[in-house]
C-alpha cells in the first residue's frame, strides 16, 4: 500500500480533533515516561503510527538526528567510563541522557506526524484567521504548476498578484465541515490514550 493510500485511509478512519487531542495526551504521557525502555517502546509505536498515517517518515533522517543528539551529549563526560576507543570516550550517564533526549525528541515528532493534519480546525478568532490563511494556501498551491525555473521571479510574482487580488476578504469557513464529524476509528482513541496512561503509571510504580 502506497503512502498516499495509507494517508487517505488514516484520514477516513479518524476525526481531526479527537486525533489531535489524543496526540496531545500521548505527548504528555511520553514526557512523564521514566526510563529508556519505555521511551524506546513509545518511539517504536509512534513511528509505526506515523508510517500508518501516510506522513513522510524518513528513518535515515531520524537516525542522523538521534546520532547527532547522542554525539553532542557524549562530548560532556558524565558517569562511569564504559568504552575508550582511541580518542572516543563513552561515559554511561552521558550515553543514557543522550539516548533519552534523542528518543524523546524523535518520538514527539512521530506522535505529531500521526496525530496532526491540515484538516484540523482551531477554535476562536485565531482559528478563523488560521483557517483563512489555510484557504489562501490552497489557492497558492493551485497556482504552483505555473512556476517555471526559467522565469521563476516573474511566475512567482504573477501567482502572488493573482491569488492576492482573488481574495475578497469575505471567505467564510465552510459550514458543516465534514472534517470534524465522527469517524469509525475515533472509538479506539480513548483506549490508546488509556493504554499509554496505564503504561506510564506502571513504569512510575515499578521504579
Amino acid at each position: 500500500m502506497g503512502r498516499l493510500e495509507r494517508r487517505e485511509r488514516w484520514e477516513a478512519a479518524f476525526s481531526p480533533v479527537p486525533l489531535a487531542l489524543s496526540g496531545a495526551f500521548l505527548s504528555l504521557c511520553l514526557l512523564f515516561m521514566p526510563g529508556l525502555a519505555g521511551r524506546a517502546a513509545f518511539f517504536a509505536a509512534a513511528s509505526f503510527a506515523a508510517w500508518l498515517s501516510g506522513r513522510k517518515v524518513s528513518p535515515l533522517a531520524a537516525l542522523v538526528v538521534i546520532a547527532g543528539i547522542v554525539g553532542a551529549n557524549l562530548l560532556v563526560p558524565v558517569g562511569r567510563l564504559i568504552l575508550a576507543w582511541g580518542p572516543l570516550r563513552i561515559h554511561q550517564e552521558s550515553l543514557y541522557q543522550g539516548l533519552e533526549k534523542a528518543l524523546t525528541f524523535e518520538a514527539l515528532v512521530m506522535v505529531s506526524k500521526a496525530s496532526l493534519g491540515p484538516s484540523l480546525r482551531l477554535p476562536g478568532r485565531f482559528g478563523s484567521f488560521f483557517a483563512e490563511a489555510l484557504r489562501c494556501y490552497d489557492r497558492i498551491l493551485e497556482r504552483k504548476a505555473t512556476v517555471r525555473a526559467a522565469t521563476f521571479f516573474k511566475d512567482i510574482d504573477d501567482a502572488l498578484v493573482s491569488v492576492y487580488d482573488g481574495m475578497d476578504g469575505t471567505d467564510a469557513a465552510p459550514s458543516g465541515d465534514p472534517g470534524n464529524r465522527g469517524r469509525p476509528g475515533d472509538r479506539f482513541l480513548p483506549f490508546a490514550a488509556l493504554a499509554a496512561g496505564l503504561a506510564v503509571a506502571l513504569a512510575v510504580i515499578a521504579r
Binding site: 538526528v65 551529549n73 515528532v109 496532526l116 491540515p118 489555510l134 494556501y137 498551491l141 510574482d157 476578504g169
Partner: protein, 183 residues
Amino acid sequence: MTSSMPRSASEKRRLAAFLAALAFFLSAVEYMLPRPVPFMRVGLANLPILFAVELLPWGWYLALALVKVAGMSLLTGSLFSYVAVFSLAGTMASALVMRGLYALAGPKAISWVGLCVAGAVASNLTQALLARVIVFGESARYMIPAFLGLGLVSGLVLGVFAELFSARSAWLAGVRGRRDGQA
C-alpha cells in the same frame, strides 16, 4: 525600503492571512529541498515576516508570526514536538529583533539584508540556547559558533533574495500602492 501599512482592518487581516499562506507555501518548498545537516535551512518561510515588517502593524505582525509557526507545525506534523518549541522561539526572536530594529532605525536607515542577517542570527542564537536546555546540554557551547555562522550565511542569502524580489515585484508594489491610495 519604504514604510507602507494598510489602513483598513479588513485589508490588514487579508494581507496577514495572505502572508501566512505564503509562509506555509515557502515552508513546503523548503521542506522538499535536501539539507546537508538536519537543523540547517535557509529560512525561506521567514520572507513573509520580513516583508510584514513594513506592511503590517504590531498586532497583526505578531499574529502572523504565531500563525506561521502553528501552520508550519501542523502541516509538517511537529506541533506536539520540541521542533515546534524551537520554531516558536526562533521565529519570535527573529520577528521581534527585525521589527525592533526597523522601529529604531527607520525604513531608510536599514536594508532588507541588514534586517535579515539580524533576524537570522537572533533566531539561531535563541535556538542554540534552547538546544542547550533541551537536547545538547553543556555541549551546545561548541555549536554556537557554527549556529551563528549559519545564521549569518542564511541571513545574507535571504536578504539578497528579498532585495531582488522587492525591487522587481509587482505584487509588493501593488500592496504599497494600495496603501498610498488609501492614505
